[in-house]
Symmetry: C2
DNA sequence: TTATCAAACTTGTTTAAACGAGTTATTCTA
DNA sequence: TAGAATAACTCGTTTAAACAAGTTTGATAA
């Protein structure tokens, strides 16, 4: 791939914001100034800016300029919703030590119950995996995964213990593109209490979702049950024009 | 405003998907076909398609086409995260009868505690509002709002009881653009138990966030505490290219 | 029949230009 | 001095064209 042009521009401006060169409330240089600085057209600049807008970093104002509305995180949030990030990626970003324990790893055939829950067709061959994720010594996430065997050949417990995504993207050359997730608060099950260090909590934050690869095949269904403290999801939205 | 051209195209294709003309797994007509159908350039078509992609409706595949990955909702979710929707809008969309009761309505000055929680500067004049939202006869949401008085003049309890956003957008001509929200699961407080019909639950799903108007002024901070059942948040994400 | 190659698609990126429309600052006028 | 008109900015939308790069299909050659 011939390395896109807008991507380094996006990254450069993002860094300028995160390092405080442009602070909350400041206006960025105008689009035309950026075309000179980056030696590209306004379209390319606008593409980079629109990415940052959708991430909640910027607020463009017609006729005035583009304002920075980003405020640094307080660091309490492990995950940022609005992007796709694996457990390992998120942990690395926040600089915390993490480990994974594989509790269950088996092959199943999707029955009606699985179909209802995950959306996989009845009769499909699936890997069923349960994992517990630790941050430091504390069990904070209980993951249940269903992977479509035909799309994820060679999956093994040893891979599940490190990073399945690294395997899929690296070894298999798969591209993960889109996911759709549902976030709910739920009563902790007996299994949650058994596997997670919930302390005094008796509920979890559940994130369930389907993941598609670049060929439009839904190859994964995952439910992650999170210990409620120390974990939160951040989302930013832009209101649709009418 | 000269009514944008991509917007009706976006709406048209969205409708075709939601009404099942194009089903889950189908490929849409190519971009070039759409340029003929809508009498516009490829750029304009692509703009409409990219909106639907970011909403999780579509999965474009380089060299192959654009696939539909939308599946109709099961209707259990009142809200969709990833957009900005008021309580009234969301309820209307799901066709349920709702009412609002204003519990507290007063003017306050932001102190250090408020500043830490909301991000408003110390000394700012604010409206402080507490509201309980009912779906049918059940109290399902406990809302705490802070509004910047200078940006929301004339706010009154009677307005808070109907729709504050309708007042802001309609009467004041304000444009709401961007919001940034944090989703967490929390232990139900005594006040939650007093005001909400939690039934057997002792926890809530909290959504807290800042809202900006079109002039880049943060004019609202809101925390909504939801009864956990029957409410969920849906989010779709597209993985960032590297 | 099978394998290979090329043509004809598909979406992805970038340029260039023009016009619209909102905001701000300046200049001119009363 | 105060106010109105204007010029010079800002971002928003759309067109047109070209090329890159991935996929599918069908023709061609072994």
């Amino acid at each position: 791939m011939p390395q896109s042009k807008y991507e380094p521009i996006y990254r450069s401006i993002k860094e300028d914001i995160e390092t405080g060169i442009y602070k909350y409330g400041d206006f960025l240089p105008s689009e035309n100034e950026y075309t000179v600085r980056f030696e590209c057209t306004r379209n390319t600049v606008r593409r980079a800016l629109s990415l940052l807008t959708s991430e909640g970093y910027l607020l463009p104002q017609h006729g005035r300029g583009v304002q920075v509305i980003y405020r640094p995180d307080d660091g309490r949030s492990l995950f940022t919703i609005g992007g796709i990030e694996s457990f390992a990626e998120a942990a690395e970003r926040s600089g915390r030590k993490t480990t994974t324990k594989v509790v269950v790893f088996k092959q199943i055939k999707a029955d009606e119950k699985v179909n209802l829950r995950t959306g996989f067709d009845i009769g499909e061959d699936l890997y069923y995996i349960e994992r517990v994720r630790y941050v430091g010594k504390r069990a904070v996430i209980f993951d249940t995964n269903y992977f479509l065997m035909s799309e994820t050949p060679g999956l093994q417990p040893s891979i599940a213990a490190s990073s399945i995504y690294r395997y899929l993207e690296g070894t298999l050359g798969m591209t993960i593109t889109t996911s759709r997730r549902r976030v709910t608060a739920q009563q902790a099950s007996e299994r949650d209490k058994e596997l997670l260090d919930l302390n005094h909590f008796d509920f979890v934050l559940s994130v369930a979702g389907q993941v598609f690869n670049s060929r439009g095949v839904m190859f994964e269904y995952t439910e992650s049950r999170h210990v409620p403290d120390q974990v939160c999801f951040i989302e930013s939205a832009v209101r649709q024009k009418v």
